[in-house]
Symmetry: C2
Subunit: 306 residues, 2 copies
């Protein structure tokens, strides 16, 4: 029996890969702290309001920080906070030399401009990679702090030894924090600063007709879906052997219980695809890990510039 005959895609185990990476990162951070006789990297999360999903994400991030030896703190704020007060808090964190990474958990209350807050974070401490300057740098393929989900997707592809050079990639979803940076990294030029992935990238979105999505997806060597549309990616649109990365996170009720699902019909697609990420346990834990990498990177850069 050749490998072509296998009936089920290889699982890209994000949880395991993330665990492995965190062990290495922990060691690297320990060494850096020792060699530079310095304090550990530090991360501050700003959490406005009591959205359960946001609380959970921040909780995961703080746990991961602990796991790799990053000092962390969460600032919990009431939704009644004004934009000005929040800008003030961000500015204080910018000036605080004991803080390397700042993340403001999105979404923010409607009366606060997310763009203004993201741009207020010192670009060097912007471990989410949401500052306009960092987005601009990513677009011109300069090394910088890059959104963690995009880094997570690239890392999973690389570690699964999926070729991207000259391959076709479909990215579903064009959000500024997820879909767009993924598309940027995947089509990037290897002659520039960032690791060039050199894929041909098609950006699909809510206004891509389904038959067109199918046309592009059927030709794709890699499908990356980041839409929050449950069962968007079905087996009929996947090329046998393709790699399918599911970035979607949707909470649904099944028999009264809340379950987290992605964009991909996992059961069906895993019979066709060559590689597939599960939800949960795929991109999620890797995203949190890349946040730790970004925090370490920010700490190193800040240390080097003092």
């Amino acid at each position: 029996m050749t490998s072509d005959c296998k009936k089920s895609a290889e699982l890209i185990d994000g949880k395991k890969i993330a665990g492995d990476m965190r062990k290495v990162l922990k060691r690297e951070i320990e060494e850096w702290v020792q060699n530079n006789n310095t304090r550990p990297p530090s991360l501050v999360a700003v959490l406005v309001g009591e959205d359960p999903a946001s609380q959970k994400y921040v909780h995961f991030k703080m746990n991961a920080a602990k796991e790799v030896g990053i000092t962390s703190k969460t600032i919990n704020l009431n939704t009644s906070i004004t934009e000005e007060e929040l800008l003030d808090i961000v500015n204080k964190l910018n000036q605080d030399e004991t803080v390397d990474g700042i993340l403001v958990q999105l979404p923010l209350p409607e009366h606060v401009s997310e763009r203004k807050i993201c741009n207020a974070v010192d670009p060097q401490k912007d471990v989410d990679g949401f500052h306009l300057n960092n987005i601009g740098k990513l677009c011109v393929n300069k090394d910088t702090l890059i959104p963690c989900t995009a880094l997570a997707v690239v890392e999973l592809i690389k570690r699964s030894k999926i070729e991207t050079f000259g391959k076709n990639v479909v990215v579903c979803g064009r959000s500024k924090n997820v879909g767009l940076p993924i598309a940027m990294l995947l089509h990037s030029d290897y002659r520039e600063e960032l690791p060039g992935m050199e894929a041909t990238v098609t950006i699909c979105h809510r206004n891509t007709p389904r038959e067109e999505l199918i046309y592009f997806a059927k030709r794709a060597d890699i499908i990356i879906s980041a839409t929050g549309v449950v069962n968007l990616i079905t087996p009929d649109m996947v090329k046998p052997g393709a790699c399918v990365i599911d970035v979607g996170i949707t909470r649904i009720k099944v028999d009264g219980k809340t379950r987290v699902v992605g964009d991909v019909d996992f059961e069906g697609v895993s019979k066709i695809a060559g590689h597939i990420t599960p939800v949960p346990g795929g991109v999620g834990p890797m995203t949190v890990t890349m946040l730790m990498k970004n925090t370490f990177q920010a700490a190193q850069c800040l240390k080097a510039s003092t």
Copy 2:
């Protein structure tokens, strides 16, 4: 005979459209100057060295400025200029209140970092839209100064009443100043600040295999080529009725004479396409016109902020 029977694509006459736009722009600028009792908008071009193509482009730009009532000046510099000296000149222009738009003609000599120079231009005077901050804003669909070629392509598509919503667009070439901003504008979300074009965009480049380019191009409602590869776009890869926009500019010798050609096999493709731009006389004159629009926009913003 219905229009389906016609044998030749409708020509998108960039030169004529640009001429019409300049007449309107001239009137708008006159009115603005009068209503605000202010000096006309002003544009300064910085030209390093004696590259004939660069000289010609700057010459076109200065002529267009004159045509629409923008004051303009070219600073000619020797290729021996250092990066520091050039940064100094840019800084002086940034501080000069009589200057609204600054354009540094690219390419620059090898010993000068183009990225550093582009980032030195005050983002508010950056009429080329090359500053990292402006690139970042474009990527998050915020209104800003956008690269002129991308604006030209969009304007030609709109004025030719080509639908983009939910349509397929292939962009060939991913350069930071041309291909990438075109792809950004074409897939943009109509719910954001910039006029959302809402197309499904495939970004092809030098490492896209030809058979894959054909697969995408054959499905495209709009093909935009910005590569400098002569005859890249051939009739066999064009869907009947598609719109083909040729951004390429290559100088070739024919019978001892220099001719300018684009990326598209014009003769062949115009038998298949529904709309086509010529080279020269297509995107080129529109790009120069959009530079004038950007200069006017910069002048208005600077005036409003004083």
